[in-house]
């Protein structure tokens, strides 16, 4: 799929935005560099900040290639940052001894460090063969700015923002990404203070001034570092009520109880609909009370998850089935091998 379809879908929901932030994530767009971590960076000023990032990256591995992300000027979009991309191979031997995923650990630590330092560079996308494209502006302008129709991906995420916490800040636009996982989110996490403090005790640093960031890190912690299946991770983030757990058969009750107790500080509260993706799958879920809309559509081997049916129909007029999942129930689409 090229990016024109999802641009069209997103433009159906402009009422949900304010023209201050939009973004796209696409998987499978860098086949020539599929073994490299594709780092997408906002530079405040290329001449000032780039040499510093270059040397940091060179310390930790090899930059196979880097270039400005191709853009095109849009009258409605003022480019306050210069988007850049690096194709980077970390030196696994530099990871802390005993690391199970040394390359991932180097890259995630680099992302945390560079972003927390705030020295004119912000790494907003760090996975292999994928990229996030985001900016302040209306979805169509952001898509055209990044020439999004020129990318061919097999999973796409997109988001239109109506900011309340941090208007006008490009880093605050969705999707949020860390390594393989990208997240878009509609809602406001009322448990943010608990989630943020929990995730920071595992070495993550929240730097984006917005609650969505924490979702990406929680998924990374639960799935990559703790090895939970994604549906179980979702269950930890939006667990069943105790009343439901109490009614489950013994074995099921036991693991659901353990999951809820162990990951109590990871549980997300408040209204949300979230879609997250990695190279193998896409997963959508809402809060336990479903205080934000989420619609699912299927057509052939394609899965669509959206806030509105109109967006699905704009992208796929022949959609075969459309339904609304229950509160907290995850919808998972896996990439066919």
């Amino acid at each position: 799929m090229d990016g024109s379809g999802i641009r069209q879908a997103l433009s159906m929901m402009n009422e949900r935005g304010s023209g201050e932030g939009a973004g796209y994530a696409a998987y499978g767009i860098y086949p020539d560099y599929r073994d490299c971590y594709a780092l997408h960076v906002f530079f405040d000023n290329v001449r000032e900040s780039k040499p510093l990032l270059d040397s940091t990256l060179a310390q930790w591995g090899t930059i196979e290639h880097d270039e400005a992300i191709p853009t095109r000027d849009r009258p409605g979009l003022r480019a306050v940052h210069t988007p850049w991309r690096y194709f980077f191979k970390p030196d696994a031997s530099l990871a802390p001894p005993g690391s199970t995923m040394p390359e991932d650990e180097i890259v995630s630590a680099l992302v945390m460090r560079v972003n927390a330092a705030r020295r004119g560079a912000l790494i907003f996308s760090s996975g292999k063969d994928l990229g996030v494209f985001k900016a302040g502006g209306w979805p169509e302008d952001v898509a055209d700015f990044y020439r999004i129709e020129e990318y061919e991906g097999y999973i796409w995420l997109a988001h239109n923002r109506y900011p309340t916490n941090t208007p006008g800040w490009w880093g605050g636009a969705h999707p949020f990404n860390l390594l393989d996982w990208s997240v878009v989110h509609n809602g406001e996490i009322t448990s943010y203070g608990t989630n943020q403090r929990y995730i920071e005790s595992f070495g993550y640093t929240c730097t984006m001034y917005t609650d969505t960031e924490v979702v990406a890190y929680l998924i990374d912690l639960l799935v990559r570092r703790h090895g939970l299946d994604v549906d179980i991770a979702v269950r930890a983030l939006a667990p069943p009520f105790w009343e439901e757990i109490d009614r489950m058969p013994d074995a099921e009750r036991e693991w659901n109880r353990a999951l809820r107790l162990t990951y109590a500080p990871a549980m997300m509260n408040g209204p949300f609909a979230i879609v997250a993706a990695n190279r193998d799958m896409m997963v959508g879920f809402t809060d336990r009370g479903k205080l934000r809309p989420m619609v699912v559509g299927e057509c052939g081997d394609r899965l669509y998850i959206s806030s509105e049916e109109a967006a699905i129909r704009a992208m796929e007029p022949r959609v075969e089935s459309v339904w609304m999942p229950a509160a907290g129930e995850p919808v998972i689409g896996r990439v066919a091998p």
Binding site: T164, G187, E188, T190, S191, Y192, G193, T194, Q196, R197, Y198, E200, S201, F202, H226, L228, D229, I232, F241, W242, E243, A251, E252, E254, W255, R257, A258, L259, L261, T262, A264, P265, M267, M268, N269, G270, P271, R288, G289, L291
Partner: protein
Amino acid sequence: MIIGSLPTRYRIGIDPVRCMECGRCIENCTYGVYSRDGDRIAVNSRNCTACHRCIACCPRDAITLEEHPCDYRSHPLWTREARETIYNQARTGKIVLAGMGNALDYPVIFDRLVLDACQVTNPSLDPLREPIELVTHLGKRPARLDLVRREGGDVELKTRLTPNLRIETPVMIGHMSYGAISLNAQIAMARAAKETGTYMGTGEGGLHAALHPYQDRMIVQVASGRFGVNIDYLERGAAVEIKIGQGAKPGIGGHLPGEKVCAEISRTRMIPEGSDAISPAPHHDIYSIEDLAQLVRGLKEATEWKKPVFVKIAAVHNAAAIAAGIARSPADAVVIDGFRGGTGAAPRVFRDHVGIPIEAAVASVDRKLREQGIRNEISVIASGGIRGSADVAKAIALGADAVYIGTAALAAMGCRVCGNCYRGLCPWGIATQRQDLVDRLNPDEGAEQVANLIHAWTLELAELLGAAGINSIESLRGNRDRLRGYMLDEGLLQVLDVKPVGA
């Protein structure tokens, strides 16, 4: 005469028009304020403690009570309390005793913290229509789980969880021993704990047989005197709590005078009748953190690892590091008792001057445990000066899992916080062992009122959570973002990790 009479603290007046000389005040006052003098009631205001028993009993509202009717020359440094303590000690040469909690005029941090509510960007929840979960679990948790998916999709839990206590509301009744309070008071609170799905502490006074029907709702205490501790006692409790210290008197032990050790207390505490029950300042088998870990293990071993073990410490300057040490033992929860925590009797100098407020202690314990990556592996219980549901919500937002209440539960049974518990004359039948006084407290009524209080707080907590857009109590725990500090200094805001109002 060198010092002479001090001004009376209270003045009792009887309105002669309203008084019908029924004499209920004379019967009810245990401190000797009232006596019959021919056809009138004579008053000796000097004996009054402001316990309000007479006012509560007077059928004609004839009694008035005035505090400080005749005061000293006002002085900001030489307060009434400062001067009177000097007069008292000049006369006696002794340590001054006091009851209840810290009575100095420190600012109350809880009252300088405000809670949050939702507007527009996220909807507030209505507890009448949507579930709001207050169920809380106390105990050890693993850092991560080993879950295996079997053929067919079933999930198998490989990690073994240690037993947790489940409470239906994050409010428990703290440890007040049989001896410090009456059996009727204990029975009333135990019934209330059962009724409201929570737990109650035994204190260091053993477990009287009358409480056996409620034993699955009792947390049995092991303190430095080891009174009442045997295997039967440990096995009856739902959990065991090691008491290292108490907020009202950090660093010192306890003393139940021999005259209070009647036959029943003697049997329950396993000490001779009439002998003083003295709890030493330290546990004489705990001189270091590893000794504590051994005792935790010992108690777990004795109860076949079936019961959670809590450790209670007083909130002292280094509480955070001590709690981190406790978290590394097999202990399931650490109880932090703040400097406003109540007591039956404590030296006033300790009650008023030693220890730190619970708000700061909980915040720093929660932070320290998080920094060490072990916060969710142990529960934190806050106590000492919890007066209402707002205090509960604030304590949880600062990092506690649940709270213990003490004085509030006693007040629900009539206590007026007069602070004379150590005299054993409590006219409300709470802090006394005199049978005629104990009989004044009907355990059925007491149980109902304590249960009402916990129910009421539970309802209010659900409303507060709903307004904050939170449908489960664990999403409030340590959620400092939902608090703001009002008129708190920058240093304290940093300790509490709370932003000022407007930020």
